[in-house]
């Protein structure tokens, strides 16, 4: 087991390194994007440019620059933004993370709870009218572009109806939980719902499929034969084995989302989370910020991947040797 964990962690580090190196190379290999010109500001003279170049180490060979950047990011943690001088990367990400977390966790709770309900109902009533209705809705959930859904939500809650039915919806933006819990929840309500739609679609479909498969398994049939009530069969036996794939899916999604994949939702609803930060950094070609957010994002993806793998290995010893 320990060997497996070590191996898994080793490959996680490798992936992290490669990801950051790729992000670094993409931007340094790009003609037309001179970081020094961006740092120095508009209309800087050649002397100022040279000065900036050397003070940021931009005149050194690429591998050295990469190491320097990593040092500033992880060791001294004083990496500066390349566009907004004086803004440091690490504190910015630390500040944005709770917003993304608030968004993702709230949305995850809604998504998990409703997909469980829908998946269960669908599986229990397989073949009846509710099943295809729920499943078609689930397909709809995974077919709507999330940013568009968000804009539609804005149109409804922030448009003309904002003066009547939806006057309780605050304007777009974010209020920290510590400042005002009610405003926090109100600001996040529609982002939560919008982002949950797609995941409800995915999880309810997976859960239903797993449940239907589980119903046909021998031990569930045996439990039924022993005269255990239908409800207990569902809850105790089928649901338990259907849960494993859903949980691992959920784990992976959580990693991706916390890492910044909630970007579209954050941009649409004006939530200054990590995704938003990433997006702005990309727009401005702010290399140091991009490095910071890329590594942050890859870290969560890799972490959740590894956790899910280890969890699986623990539950299913065969995987360890695969």
């Amino acid at each position: 087991m320990i060997g497996f964990i070590l191996r898994r962690l080793g490959s996680a580090v490798l992936v992290l390194f490669t990801t950051s190196a790729i992000a670094f190379l993409i931007f340094f290999a790009t003609p037309g994007i001179d970081p020094a010109a961006r740092i120095a500001g508009r209309g800087a003279s050649a002397q100022t440019l040279a000065q900036v170049r050397s003070s940021f180490g931009l005149d050194k060979p690429l591998p050295v620059q990469y190491l320097l950047m990593m040092k500033h990011l992880f060791v001294t943690r004083d990496l500066n933004s390349f566009v907004n001088r004086g803004e440091m990367v690490v504190p910015q990400i630390v500040q944005a993370a709770p917003i993304t977390l608030s968004l993702v966790i709230g949305s995850a709770i809604i998504a998990v709870a409703s997909s469980f309900a829908l998946g269960l109902i669908s599986a229990l009533y397989k073949g009846r009218v509710v099943d295809p209705i729920i499943m078609t809705l689930a397909v709809l959930g995974i077919s709507i572009p999330v940013f568009w859904l968000g804009e539609v939500a804005n149109l409804i809650t922030q448009g003309t109806l904002h003066h009547s039915a939806f006057s309780w919806v605050p304007p777009l933006g974010y209020t920290p939980l510590t400042q005002d819990p009610i405003q926090w929840a109100l600001h996040l309500l529609f982002p939560w719902l919008t982002m949950a739609v797609m995941y409800v679609g995915i999880y309810s479909r997976v859960l239903r499929a797993e449940l239907v498969a589980a119903f046909n398994e021998d031990f569930v049939q045996a439990a039924r034969a022993k005269g255990i009530t239908e409800r207990r069969v569902v809850l105790r036996h089928a649901l338990r084995c259907a849960l494993i794939p859903v949980i691992s899916l959920f784990g992976l999604d959580l990693g991706v989302l916390v890492g910044g994949a909630a970007l579209l939702t954050e941009v649409v609803f004006g939530l200054p989370g990590v995704g938003f930060l990433t997006y702005q950094a990309l727009e401005n070609v702010d290399l140091s910020m991009i490095m910071g957010t890329t590594i942050y994002a890859a870290f969560f993806v890799v972490l959740m991947n590894a956790l899910v793998d280890i969890l699986h290995a623990k539950l299913d010893p065969r995987i360890r040797h695969a």
């Binding site: 790009t30 077919s143 709507i144 572009p145 679609g201 794939p245 994949a261 579209l264 994002a297 991947n305």
Partner: protein
């Protein structure tokens, strides 16, 4: 059978969408009498016998609003911020969106199948390298990767040997979108091939002295093909969504071309005054993707009932 009926409905919807998209030029020239790629900021049309400006200047001199839906042949759904016919643009947008979706899904499925088979069949070092590569692409956040590539390619022309992809080219979004989901398809195929390889019949075939290529063609490919076919419509739906998201972020299809995503984006500054500009293409995307996903489900039930294809990202 319910599933069959759903598949049939999905197919009909798809055929209709493809048809109307293909007929877009006819609609533009014969029904709407407009060129959906030409700005018409100063023009005016006649609606119910009254002459109306396409872009209406407010009395205060502050703000200009495009004409709303006329529900007539001209400007059926109104105009966008450039005074162009939204209905005609949505139809034209369908061509680009469907093209990007299908071509990138095809490339993605092809590349993923090839890599998946190579990794699964060869095993060892090759498998190790390819699998790590999948891990890297997978760990690189999808949007980050896509936006990174787009911005880099927007500022500089991409040249691979003799092929040069300019910033306005459709090949750009297609190439980007094809790459990012390769691991998504390649991983399960690799696993499938790996388990196939262990099975008796291949070992038997090898002992007879068949070449690797022959084994892959005769024994491996037919076995993984159903999964690939199931993946195709699902990937197409996914790619249409990704293409739209990229357009929303301003890095997808570049003007003068228009895809559904770019039309949504064009309509956002008008969201509260002329919501139809953004709503109409969004509805088209949702319809198309629902149909594709239903089709994928039915294909899976028919071809590959055991697989657990995951839909969505």
């Amino acid at each position: 059978m319910l599933a069959n009926r759903a598949a049939l409905v999905a197919l009909i919807i798809l055929v209709i969408i493809v048809l109307v998209s293909l007929l877009a030029p006819l609609y533009a020239s014969h029904v709407a009498h407009t060129n959906p790629f030409t700005s018409n900021v100063q023009g005016s049309i006649v609606v119910d016998g009254k002459k109306v400006d396409v872009m209406q200047q407010s009395a205060t001199g502050l703000g200009v609003t495009p004409i709303g839906p006329t529900w007539h042949s001209r400007y059926f759904l109104g105009a966008d911020g450039q005074g162009r016919d939204v209905m005609a643009r949505v139809l034209y947008g369908g061509r680009v969106s469907l093209l990007i979706g299908s071509v990138s899904a095809a490339i993605c499925c092809f590349v993923a199948t090839a890599l998946g088979i190579i990794a699964g069949y060869m095993g060892g070092l090759v498998d190790g390298i390819l699998s790590r590569l999948f891990d890297v692409v997978w760990a690189f956040p999808v949007y980050l990767l896509a936006i990174c590539l787009s911005i880099v390619l927007l500022t500089s022309t991409l040249t691979i040997g003799p092929i040069s992809i300019g910033s306005g080219s459709l090949a750009l979004p297609i190439a980007i979108i094809s790459v990012i989901y390769v691991p998504y398809v390649a991983r399960p195929i690799r696993a499938q091939v790996k388990s196939l390889r262990e099975r008796m019949f291949i070992q038997a075939a090898r002992s007879v002295g068949s070449s690797n290529w022959r084994i892959i063609r005769r024994d491996v490919l037919p076995n993984v093909l159903p999964s690939v076919i199931v993946y195709f419509p699902i990937m197409m739906a996914l790619n249409i969504l990704i293409a739209a998201s990229l357009s929303f972020l301003g890095v997808g299809v570049q003007p003068p071309r228009a895809a559904w995503g770019t039309i949504i984006n064009d309509g956002l500054p008008l969201l509260y005054t002329r919501p139809l500009v953004s709503l109409a293409p969004g509805v088209m995307i949702a319809l198309t993707c629902v149909a594709l996903n239903l089709l994928g489900d039915s294909l899976r039930d028919a071809l590959d009932p055991g697989s657990k294809v995951r839909v969505g990202s």
